[in-house]
Amino acid sequence: MDQKQFQTIVDKQTPKAPLFINMLKAFFVGGIICTIGQFVSFFYIRFFDFTERTAANPTVATMVFFAMILTGTGLYKKISQFGGAGSAVPVTGFGNAVISAAIEHKSEGYVLGIGGNIFKLAGSVIVFGVLSAFFVALIKTILVKVGVLSW
């Protein structure tokens, strides 16, 4: 039996993922997380001196803090098992990736364990986030210079 035949048997045996249901779950879980984020944002705008533009920073910090508590108590795992990408794509997913790595490597010590591994999962998000932001800014700068767009 070669590799291809084996693969076809595996494909036959593997149950098909319910794509539509998964998407629906991700939509609702992601939507609920974003709604909570919107409430947090409104809280900062209402009760502190933040505008729509400046409220984004404390909102992100608060959502990561919520993710930290949920990850520590093991609740975020349950949410992501149900919601899939819906819980991974918002910033809480990023927080979860950072914090779960920190918890996992805590036994190896604070410097080489937590410090060395905390961005093991989330490091790629930062690298590609910065990289894509650089390219988007570069493209926009060129378009503004050419005169297609304005700042």
Binding site: T35, F42, I45, R46, D49, F50, T51, E52, R53, T54, A55, N57
Partner: protein
């Protein structure tokens, strides 16, 4: 479980209900410029509602833009600002669609602030609108 779901759905639906904005221009000194601002702002189809406060040399306008047109928020703000600057030359005009500024202006109007309190509130709004970080 079902009951909880119903409560959640009701809660999410009801949060969509909020008081509709009214067009208001507040001018403690009752100058003519208030009417000019009003007539100018009534012309724009992009502007659903507006709240404005005039005091001395400052004109602060908060506009409500239709949900889908918020992608062009800055463009609409700049357009309205440009037209108002033409109508009221020499004035320091701030046009914004920011909800914080709208709430601060509503506070001024609700409390009918005047004199030093009004000046302080306007300085606060000006510093808020300049804040970038």
């Amino acid at each position: 479980m079902k009951k909880k779901l119903y409560v959640l759905v009701m809660f999410l639906l009801l949060t969509g209900c909020s008081d509709a904005s009214k067009d208001t221009v507040y001018d403690a000194k009752q100058t003519k410029e208030a009417q000019e601002v009003e007539s100018e702002l009534d012309n724009y189809s992009d502007v659903m509602a507006y709240t404005s406060v005039l005091e001395g040399n400052d004109v602060i306008v908060s506009i409500d833009i239709q949900r889908l047109k918020r992608f062009n928020k800055e463009k609409i703000e700049n357009k309205v600002k440009k037209y108002l600057e033409e109508k009221l030359p020499g004035k320091e005009i701030i046009v914004t669609a920011d909800i914080k500024i709208k709430w601060e202006l509503a506070k001024i109007i609700d409390h009918q602030l005047q004199g030093e309190e009004l000046n302080q509130a306007i300085e606060n709004i000006k510093s808020l609108s300049k804040e970038e970080t």
